[in-house]
Symmetry: D4
Subunit: 252 residues, 8 copies
């Protein structure tokens, strides 16, 4: 509550234009609103420019159905991540307008917004075919937040020339998400070649010394290239969300 | 700000008894006071029943002197932990009334309060002689918070009969702090024998597979005995502080 | 055996009031009783104020049935933790008065005692919905030990204002259990805001760098807030049991 | 080399306006320039908007002097990080215009540019006093890249109300760097409260279970709040550099 | 081949008592026999005093059947460890005289030898009921090697008085195997109380910070008691085998 | 593009023998060809002397079928690794000439080339029977690349004399692959005995402290013998491929 | 207190031969003596057949002097382990009869007993020269406990034939201690070749992936050879003590 | 001893041409020579084509002097690795012809052999300036073994075009050693670009999440490129030695 609004209210009370009870009503949950972020909760997606999201993993199809139906009431687009094909079939039968996207293992209810909320494009680059589900989760997330996404997939370290072939995509992007498992070298290579900021997403692709993605995670954290920051293993959603936040146009 | 107080204020405004500017003044930093914990900062030691504390590690003697002089102004007792003997000598020469306690590697400025703030006694039990500095840090911390502390030192797992000899100390204690390095078995033994709550403090005493205290830490976390919770490795201060909080008399 | 009792016995022998054989009978298992904790075993639940408990995990339904029937003979309330829904159905059909509590994955045989054994209330706070089973296990455990429990669920770090909304619950509690997975920040926040002792329970909720709960565990152990101690990952039962021990009224 | 430029060249050759030898000269290191990033090396700081930087750690003062003198020849501002006080004294005596900044343990040669290269401000938030050197390294790095930096220091989890007091700083920042050791909870709290993107920097502040900063690192990677990405432990420089890249104005 | 035997052979050649071809025959695989351990392979069980053993884990029932039939031809007793109940049923139907021992998850073909090969008895002590399968595997292994084994099960750290009740078993044993999971404290307690050598077997019993038995393993390795050595997690077989080797009577 | 070719082209343009458009056509994708490794992609198997390979793990049988059919079109031999028996059956029914090799869990389409591409033989040595699948994967890989492979299996550390029996195999090999799980000692023993280069392959065979192959991996990395290098856990394919590269005849 | 002795005492009381006060005196510390191991403490070295021992590491020379003088009063031989050369010089000047043994970094006060307490000899085998200090600590410890020790040093895995040359030493030993760092393969090799029980001592010799001895520790724990058990990293003393316990003659 | 030689000897005995005692003399240490690798020890450097080597780390200058003088007697070139500058100065003053090579921290006694023992050249590639000492140790080692070495230093991932500039060096090399710390991506890039076998050497360069070189080690082990194998962290010597073994000309 900014001072002007407070003054107006109190002057209204003083002038008997505003009833005491109404003023109390407006002020009584001030502790919450006073925090200045009370609207986080009620209008979260307005602030973050992002749809509602449900983590499908660890939930029964019935639970996902119930949550999607509830969230979709508000009219906003809803995203459910990490949904198995079996669960997706059950949910799609029960939730109107639910779409199943097999590769990013996601369900979407509601329209994909026009890609007009970003300052620029978001590039999503991935190393191997096994990294594609995580890369697609990142891309989908960014698209649902109203961004224009360009994908450059399957450009492992053994195919750097292919990366160069797509250099225009990365150079024009506002932010680039780079998804890689195994030795996790690709974010270093991309950041080193293009000098543009990179959100690195390690994946759990690999075996043995990849330690479930820890090898890629450590490699990305210790990158010698400028402009690399890292999110959790397999966290395509988080990378897409962060990219959307970084790409969002701000009010002047 | 409770509703009655708010109504009074607004009615005062409505009745012109209270000026709008004064009401704004009272309400404007409501965001902070509304949190209900704004007083945490200014009256912290009243709430926690604990003196000011300074972590000596990583500070120069000059920095410790400056902080102690500042904190001691308020008149409350001040504790500096993890102070090397060399630093202690410099500080004691510069800070009036500073006392150096060599074994817990601590400096105290101001009096030790009477041990009358606790519901009962606090027992501090330690395994080996190398664990004593951490145990003494815990004991000192609890004493400075106004507790009566009883020490049972050097009762390793190989000397369980000695533990039994001091069973009265543990049985009458409100809470028992158990300090041990190496395999960290003592908290399990104490909790198993006496059925009383234990704050376990792993120490970095040991070598090789003790991994700097991690072996003891894991052992304490996986204790099969009821009533064991754990603090960080070598964190005698934290254990003493928690014991003091648990032992504190509450207002009726 | 206290000295007075021993003197009485020996004077009885000297006075021929006590037969030598009877005195031998009384003294012969002195080694055990002399330990002063021989009664641990036979009267364990009297001492700990806690019902019998069975870890369901790793046991067949048949084994659980057998143990519950045996323990329930004594008339005390019995708790079985970590029981799968399938096992619960089988057990409930076989054990009279067994109740299945789905969310904490528990079985209870016998009545829940009146919440009159504690000095105060116990608060149980949890971060995300996925942490609720562990939080409910803690709450149930404390309730079965005769405590009044108040729950504040779903107050993740992104919703601190909601935590503040329930601050009265935490401030009046004798002890607060805080359950959180992922980054495990909630215990620090609760302890920092309210200055009250916290039993922190890390959960295995999360993926990738959460390392099965180790990330949350380490975060809680290294908390910079006063008054935080930690139990094992997912150990809601242990936290509830410790809270009950800390909250128990002691004989004057 | 874009097609138009190539056609011009070849038509020049065809028209005898361009000598074959000259065309060969222009084309012969095409492999490099053709990569489109050959200018990375020669014009690196133009592209990244960042001064030259030297990692002081592991170098002798003499080596630092030599490198600084060489780099400063180009006229650009030069930053040396992780320079000990002893080395700094030697270097400052030998390198004209070198300034020693004790808290971020840095040396700067050349002017700090005007803070006019960023789209907005960069906020740097830190938890404890021991985290300040890393936070200052981040802030200095961003300032040397031409950004306006606002600092909010010493706002640990136990002092969230102070964070709220400075909320305007964070809300107006284009990007916020959050620096914290121990349990590393602050980035989650900041991102959760303000809904703005955060670069999280774990520090090695702490002992025992903090495992040299790994506890904070894992906590930040597993943050449940939206918009958090992470750099290496103690990598204030990397965070400042990334923030500068994200805040840089792009050509229309 | 000892020198005397060699001289005899050569003198036989010189005296034409031995044909050159026969001497070559005797000497030609000297490289193997010369090693002095060539008989390891062919007479292994004579040397180790132990039956043939098959690790059942990771083998199909058909493979186990084939190996057991082959090994049993030699007439010696054969032990298969880590055999699932399903596999055991199939194997028992196909292999004559095969016995399934459910608790140690083992199959035995052939008689259990008389317990007359050891210098003394072997004690097997275990902590919780979940540790019994590993303890029984150790006991069975030692018994099949001809030892007299005495079991003391379910003597966790919370029941030390019960351990004392069975002290005669441990004191008379030549060697004691102690099996424990979770915090792994029991070997320290046994070795500390009785001053007798202990083979410690950590088990994977536990969850969370027990890290699949690593917590118990580290605790046992860092035991402060004299006389404790450690084998791999869940390696009851190895402990039984080592105990049998240590207890074996040696030829005078 | 070498300078002479470039001069020719330009002189052709100057002499009007070459049209500008044709010269542009030749030069325009120079960036790729200029790299000098553009042929990597199109002629990869010519350069590496190795067939196409598909990682079967994590792919559906249908995906494997599709990829094999596509790759087999080129006429080169194709290898699919880590294919389950179930998937193999489906694939063999759908892909002409596909052969299933059960022990190395592989599928091969196309002929095994004559073993004439190597400078010498490749030896594959393995420790236990459980290591054989990985060893066979290495051997198969090398054979498909045209090498003569000699196998020495089941020569654990307890059977060193058997290793010696086959020493001729190792001594004549150009390179030796040594596969071992558990303590991973065999590569050290082989390299120590024979002084020949060893590619060490740790396997995930083992339990408990073998940590999924990490124990063997660390042992191999810290080998005190000369000439040992290491690949990832269970990476028989990688070892075979590297051995083939090292053994390949080079053009004079 | 055995029943007969108790009956005598009570009958003495009944017959007035024993005063009640005397009986109380005899019985009053029964809790301790009743444990049956009260003599552990007072007669520890009789039971373990071992001299007093002091861990020198972490103690000042003055502390070592004080403890040695105190312990030496009892007349038994005293061993101080992990004493630096500097401390040793100071201690030797202050403690009569103290001898400094540089290689095992030990101090001994009092005579080395005749090697007549063991059933047989103890072999100590070590891999590299850097492992010798730990091996010598083990050997010295066993010798001070009255054992005949035979050393076989510098027999790394690359020199197995030298191990074979000394096979008689190992074959006649009652127990063999094997000390090795780096990949820790030697215990497996020794146990595999000779079929005799081995106490394995990993050392911290090595760098990088040896992780301070953890690589060797894991390798030894996962040994595929029969008869290997393991003590803590660098714990030569513990191995020597255990070997002495295992080799001790027992009363008939 | 081959059969023919044995027959000759025995026929000599039969024909009385050879004395029995002489034959015994020839045969009596047959166990060793029979192993076929007895010459490893006495003629080690002939077999491995490598000079004598001393690990300087952990040795006093006096010890290094003694060993170098002894080894140099044989006339072969001797290499001491990991020698500090202080130790080097002392050693050079005492050992004739000893040369100190500061960057690889090595001492060499005796001439560098002509680079004529290899089939081809060895390339040594390193990422950052801090990796140079390890890279130089590898290069020096290979040179002392008679190889022609070509260095390509300072080609981090951010400067891939520079790597391409030196591609001829790598393409003509028989084997390439790639040295990198931090994220350890360079071996993947080199192997991916050039399709040639790579010995990867992780270095301990880095901080925080580089975990002393473990991050680079894991990255190299999980490389997705063909032909990469790995040695221990900072093990330039081992890489050089292996490269020399792989490059060695074999007798036809």
């Amino acid at each position: 509550m900014d001072p002007d609004r407070l003054r107006d209210l109190l002057e209204g009370v003083a002038a008997r234009r505003v009833e005491v009870e109404d003023a109390i009503g407006e002020l009584r949950d001030l502790p919450f609103r006073a925090l200045g972020f009370a609207n986080v909760d009620t209008h979260r997606h307005l602030r973050t420019g992002f749809p509602e999201v449900v983590l499908g993993e660890g939930k029964t199809p019935e639970q996902i159905v119930a949550i999607l139906l509830e969230l979709a009431k508000g009219g906003s687009t809803v995203l459910a991540t990490r949904v198995s094909p079996e669960a997706a079939a059950i949910v799609c039968a029960a939730v109107p307008r639910a779409r199943h996207l097999a590769i990013p293992r996601a369900l979407v209810v509601g329209p994909t917004p026009a890609p007009d909320r970003g300052r620029g494009t978001i590039a999503v680059v991935s190393a191997g075919t096994a990294d594609v589900p995580v890369a697609e989760e990142a891309a989908l997330t960014a698209e649902l937040a109203g961004n224009h996404v360009e994908r450059v997939f399957d450009v492992g370290v053994a195919g750097i020339h292919r990366l160069i072939a797509h250099r225009a995509v990365i150079e024009r992007a506002e932010i680039t998400i780079v998804v890689a498992g195994m030795e996790g070298a690709l974010p270093s290579v991309v950041a080193g070649l293009f000098g543009r900021p990179v959100i690195a997403v390690p994946t759990s692709v690999g075996y043995g010394a990849s330690l479930g993605g820890v090898a890629a995670l450590l490699a990305m954290l210790t990158s010698c290239a400028a402009g690399v920051s890292v999110v959790n293993i397999d966290n395509g959603f988080g990378a897409g969300q962060l990219a959307a936040m970084l790409n969002r146009k701000r009010a002047p």
